[in-house]
Symmetry: D2
Subunit: 384 residues, 4 copies
C-alpha cells in the first residue's frame, strides 16, 4: 500500500523550494501526495501559491487560513496558535503516514507540533542549518520534534546528529531549491515579458543593460528596526541607479513596517529605477536572478540558488548569519554606503563559477525515495 | 529595577515541583513574580492548584483555560494551540523580562513558543533529561527555544550543551521538587487525617500496618493501551492486598481510557483495598509517599523525590525510560505478575539511603538567583 | 439533485429530540443527510451520542470538539467561539444546501452564525418558544439568523411571525421529540435490565413498587446558585424516600457546581434511594419516565414528552418559565418542602390523559418534507 | 459607584459614529469608560482608528486582534469566532456593568454573544433599522441578545418593540453619527490640506470646481460580484469626469475582490480623476462630503449624515435597502449608465434642506444618560 505523504506549504518561497520534491512524490509509485497550502501561501498580499500549484498540476488536499492580521509579534504568535488548532483538524482528516515540513518559517511549528502530538511521524526538510533570528529557534526546535531529517548539506547532517538525533534518520538530499535552478538552466531565458506577465508597481524599464534584484525580509527579533533597515537598502539601490526589480517580502512581524518603509520612500523620493513585484513563478524568479548584475537583500535565495547559479550576492544584516555560503556572497551591514559599495564591487566582479554546496539539483527525487523507504516511527530518544 | 519573572504552571505536579522556586522568586529583592495558572492546573477534575496557590501565599497574575475536552490526541493538540493563542495575550499584557516553563508536559510548548515568538527570553527548568513518549520531544524542543537552562543534574547539563546550547546559559540547580522533600522531612508526619482532609472515593482504612501508593499516568504514544495498562496495575495491587492509596492521573490523551479502566474495575471487582484521591498538597503527598511500603506506577516522583527520600519504587512501563535513577527503583513491564513480584520484593527490602542525584533540596533558591543575575537575551545560535 | 441537509447535534437531548427527523431525512428521496456531532454530544462526561448514532444507523459526517473545560461562563463563551471557528471549517467542507440547528442550547449559536456568515440557508427547529435564562436569548437570536422555522406549536409560529419573520418561512411541524414518545408507546416496556444495561452509580433497587425520575440542569444566569439548587432537590427526593433515578445534567456553566453538589450530598448523606445515570437511549429514557410515579427537575422533557405521555411532572425553578405546558405540570420553587409536597401530590394524582400540545408524533416526517420542498435562500428582511 | 461601560469599536465607521457618545460617557460623572478597539479598527489596511482615538483623548482599555486574513466568507466566519474567544477574555478582565455594541457589522456578534454568555447586560446602538445583506441578520440577532436598545429613529424603536423587546428598554436617542455632523458645521472648512494631510494614491487635483465622494463596500451575500459591482462604479465616475475622492472599503468578505477591481481598473484605465484614500478623521470626512457635489456608493453615511447635511447622494445596489431615507437619496442599480445619470442629476439639483430623520445631533449625550440611569439586567423574555 502506498504511503500517504502530507506536505505542508506555508509560504511562497517554501513552495518554490519544495516543488521538485512534490513532483517526485507525485510520480513515485509507492507514495500518495497530500498537499496542504496554509498561512501566507494562501494570501494574495504575500504571493498566493494557489495558481502556481494548479499550473504545476498538483491537487490541494486542504487550504488552511491561519494568518491573524496585524503584522506584529502578538498576531504572529496567535497565527501559530490558530495554525496549530487548524492543522490538528487537517491531520485528523488526512491521517498521513508522514508529514513533511520545510525549513524554518514561524508557521511551520504549528504543523510540527500537530504532527508530533497526533502521533504522526514528522519529516523535516532543510534542518541543521545555522542562521540568525527567530528562524534559528524554530528550525532546531522542529528538528527535536522530527523523526526524519532531509538535510541540504553534509555539515547540516553533522549538526543534526550532534543535536542528538539518530544518524540513521538523517539523510543528505541536497536542497530541493537547487533542483529548480538546475531545470531552469535548460531554458534560462524568460519566455514571457516580465512586466506584461507580472505587472507590479513602478516604471517599466529596459533590462538589457543590466539590473539588480532585491529581496529583503523583515527580521523579527529586530522588529522596530525593519522600517529603518529597508530604507537603507532603498536609498542604496536608488543611489546605484541601475534598474532594480524589488520583490515584496513575506508575512512576518515587521511586514507592515517594511511595507510602510517602501511606501513612504516611494512617495517621498519617487524613485524612477525601482519596480515592485509581489510574486513570480519560482523558475521565472530564478531566470530574473540569473540575468541580474547582482542580488541584494537578506534572502536565502541569494545564498542557496545563487551559489549554484553563480549570481553575485550582497547579503545585508543578520538574517543569514551562520548559513553556509559559497564565494558568490558578500556580507554587509544595514548601511546604505556599505550596500552601495558592495553592490558596485559585485557588479564589477560578474558571474561566479557553479558551486554545489547546496546540492546537485536532484534533491526532490532523493527526498521522495527516502520518504518511500525510510523506517517511519514516532518514537525517538536523545542519542546520548 | 526588578526583573519581571513570569512562571507558567500547567499542572498539579508542575506546581508541586516549582513551589520552592516560586517562594525564592517572591522573596528575592531583584525579582517580581507573575504566576500564571493554566490548562489542567485550573481544573478540578485533574486537581486544581488554585486553592494551594492561595494557601501558599502567591497571587495569580492570570488564569488561562485551554483544555479542550475530549481526551484524545486531536483535542490534546488543539489544547496546545488554544494555549498558544491565549498565552500570547497573557505575555502581551504581563510583558515579563523572562518566562519560566517547567519540565515537559505537552501544554508547555504553548508557553515556550509564545515567549519565543514574542521576543521574551525563555527559561526552562528540568531540561536535558531523557524519558520515553511524547514528553521527550516536548522537552528537547523546548530546550531549542529556551535561552536559559535550569537543569536538575550534571548529566542533564551535559546533554543540553551537547545539543548545541551555549554552556554559559546552562545552570545545574538541582530539581526543585527535592526542596519540598527536604522541607517536609522537618515535619514528616501528616498533621491532618488523610481521609478527613482529602476525602476521595473508596474505603477508608487503617494505614498503620503499611500501605502502597500508586500514581499511574497514561502514556500518550500508546494511547489505545492506556486502559489495558491501568487494569494490569489495578489487578496487581488488588492481589497484593495491602491498603492502597491511588492518585488520579493528569489530563492527557488517554486520560479517559485510564479513568474508564479504573471505574470499570471498581464496578466489577469492588476492591476493598483501594482508595482514590484526586489531589493532595504537595508536601502531604510526599508525607504519604514517605510512609508507604512502596510507590507503584510510572510517575517521576517515584524516581526523583523518592530517591531522595529512599522510598522503594516499582516503575511500570516505558514512561520513565531513560530517566536517571537511583537504587530505589525497580523497573517492570505492564504485567500484573511482574508488578506483584516487584512490589512484594520492594516491600520486603524497606527504606533506601538518601541519594542526592536530583539535588540537595536547595534548587529553588538557586533558580531565583540565576533568574536575577543571568544575562537575558532572546538571541541564540547553535554552538557548532 | 438531492438537497444536502447538514444537521448539527450538540447535546444528548438534542439528538434524542431530532432523531425521528434524521430518520425521515435519511429516508427521503430528495434529501442527503450530513450529520455533525459537536460539543458535549461527543463527550462521555455529558453522555456521548456517538454510540446511539451508530446504533440508529446514521453516519457521522463530522465530529467537532469544542468544549473548553472549566464549567464557568468564561469557558462557556469560549466554547461557543471555538465552535464557531470549527463549524466554519465543517460547513466549508460539506457545503450543504441548508443547515439545521435544534432548540436553544448555547452551543447552537456557533452553527447559526457560521451558516449565516457562510451564506448557507439556516433552518431552526423549535424556535418561537418562551422560557427563562440564557436559552431565551439564544433561541430568538437564532430565529433572527434563520431562514426557515420549523416550530412545535401554533403559538410558537405566531411568535416567530410577530418577531418579523416572513410567515411563508414558518412551518408548524410539532416537536420531533414527541415522535419518539409515540413510537415508544408501541413497546412501552424496557427490554433490557435498566441497571444491567446502563450501569450508573448507586444502589440498584426494585422499581416495581414505583420510583421517581429526576433531571435537573444548572441555570446559567444563576451560576452561583446551581449548587444550592441541586441540594434542595436532593434533600427533597431523599425525604420522599421513593427509589429515584437521577440523570446527570449536560455541560453548561454551573455543571461542576451541580456535580459537586451531587457528589458532596452522596458523601455526606449516603442516600440509599438514589441511583445516578449518565445517559440512556432516548426511547429507553422515555420508557423509564413513563413507568415513573413522577418526573422531577427542570428539564423540558417533563413538559413536552411527558404531556403527551401523561406523566405527572414537578417543574422546579425558572428554567422552563414561559414554556407552554399541559395539565401534567406542577411548578415549584427551589425549595425542598415545596418539592416534596408537589411530588407527593403528583404521585397521588397518577397518570394524566394524552395532550397533543407539542405535536401528534409525526414531526420528523413533516420536517423532512419542508426541508425538501421549501424555497431556500439566505436573503431575509424584517417583515415590517 | 460609577457604572463601568465597555464600548467595543470594530471598524473605522463605527468609531466615527460613536465618538460623541464616547465623549459624553467619558464626561459623565456616573460612568467610567472602557474603550475596546477590535477587528479591522486596529488594522492600517482598513483604516486603523488608534491614532484618532488617541487624538480624541480616549484611553484604549484593550486591543483585540481578530481578523483572519483571507477576505472570504470562511475567514470572515472564523474572524467572528476568534473575536468571540478573545472578547470573552476582555470582558472577563474588565467586568463591565454594561457592554455597548454599535450597529450591524459582522464582527459585533462576537461581542454581543460574549457579553450575553458572560451575564453582562448588553446595550445595542442603532438597532431596529432595516437594510439588505447579512447586516440585517446581524442587527436583529443582536437585538434579541441585547438588554438595552439605543435606537436612531422612532420607526426603529417601533420595530424593536414589535420584535418582542420590552418597550421600557428601548430609547430613541437619535444616531450619534449626526452629532459629528452638527459639530462639524461649526467649522465646516478643512483646516488642513486634504492631500498633504492624508496622502492617498492618485493625482492631486484642485477641488474648488467641485468633486465627487465615493464610498462603496462589498456586499457579502453577493460575494462573487463585488468586483463587477465596483467596476461599474469606477467606470461611471470615470465617465462623469469630475475629480473624485474614493474612500477605501472596510474589511469584509469580498474586500479583496473590491480592492482588486480598483487596482486593475487603475492599471488598465489609468484614470486621471480618481484619488484613493484609506482613512480620514470622521469630522474631516464629513467636511469633504459636505463640500462635494454628490456622494456616490452604498455607504450609510450618504443616508444618515448626508440627510442632515443635505448632500445629494447616489445610493447603489441593495446594501441600504430598507433603510429609512430622506429626500437627498437617489437609488440606482449596479449599472454604470444609471449611476452616471443619477450623479449628474444630483449634481444639478444641489444641496437639500436639513432633515432630522436620524437625530438632532445630541445622541451622544442621550446615550450616556440612558447608560447611567437605565435599569441594567441580563434577564429578558419575549414580550408576547
Amino acid at each position: 500500500m502506498s504511503r500517504r505523504v502530507c506536505v505542508v506549504v506555508t509560504s511562497r518561497p517554501s513552495y518554490s523550494r519544495i516543488r521538485s520534491a512534490l513532483q517526485s512524490i507525485q510520480a513515485h509509485g509507492d507514495l500518495d501526495l497530500y498537499l496542504v497550502v496554509a498561512a501566507s501561501a494562501l494570501l494574495d498580499r504575500f504571493g498566493s501559491v494557489v495558481r502556481y500549484v494548479e499550473e504545476d498540476g498538483f491537487e490541494i488536499a486542504s487550504q488552511v487560513y491561519s494568518v491573524l492580521e496585524g503584522g506584529n509579534p502578538l498576531t504572529m504568535t496567535k497565527t501559530a496558535g490558530i495554525g496549530l488548532v487548524e492543522m490538528a483538524t487537517v491531520l485528523d482528516q488526512l491521517r498521513p503516514d508522514v508529514t513533511v515540513v520545510i525549513a524554518d518559517r514561524f508557521e511551520i511549528i504549528s504543523t510540527a507540533v500537530a504532527s508530533s502530538y497526533m502521533n504522526i511521524p514528522l519529516a523535516h526538510v532543510q534542518g541543521g542549518e545555522v542562521t540568525g533570528s527567530i528562524d534559528e529557534k524554530v528550525r532546531h526546535s522542529v528538528t527535536k520534534l522530527a523523526n526524519l531529517h532531509l538535510v541540504s548539506t553534509q555539515k547540516a547532517a553533522e549538526r543534526v546528529v550532534r543535536m542528538g538525533e539518530d544518524a540513521a534518520t538523517v539523510h543528505v538530499t541536497g536542497c530541493p531549491s537547487i533542483d529548480i535552478a538546475r531545470e531552469m538552466l535548460e531554458s534560462p531565458e524568460l519566455d514571457v515579458g516580465l512586466f506584461e506577465e507580472y505587472g507590479g508597481v513602478g516604471p517599466r524599464f529596459d533590462l538589457s543593460d543590466g539590473y539588480l534584484v532585491v529581496l529583503q525580509h523583515p527580521v523579527t527579533t529586530e522588529f522596530d528596526q525593519s522600517r529603518v533597515h529597508v530604507l537603507e537598502t532603498l536609498e542604496a539601490v536608488h543611489k546605484v541607479g541601475l534598474p532594480t526589480l524589488w520583490f515584496w517580502p513575506n508575512v512576518d512581524a515587521g511586514t507592515d513596517a517594511t511595507s510602510d518603509g517602501i511606501r513612504s520612500f516611494r512617495e517621498l523620493r519617487q524613485p524612477d529605477n525601482l519596480h515592485f513585484f509581489k510574486n513570480l513563478r519560482p523558475d521565472d524568479f530564478l531566470r530574473v536572478a540569473l540575468g541580474s548584475r547582482a542580488i541584494v537583500g537578506n534572502s536565502s535565495v541569494a545564498i542557496r540558488e545563487c551559489s549554484y547559479l553563480g549570481v553575485p550576492a550582497v547579503n545585508i544584516g543578520s538574517r543569514q548569519d551562520g548559513r553556509e555560503r559559497g564565494a558568490n556572497v558578500v556580507d554587509v551591514g544595514y548601511d546604505r554606503d556599505e550596500i552601495v559599495e558592495a553592490t558596485l564591487r559585485q557588479m564589477a566582479r560578474g558571474r561566479y563559477p557553479r558551486d554545489e554546496l547546496y546540492g546537485d539539483g536532484r534533491a526532490g527525487a532523493r527526498i521522495a525515495d527516502v520518504l518511500a523507504s525510510a523506517h517511519l516511527t514516532v518514537e525517538k530518544k536523545l542519542a546520548y
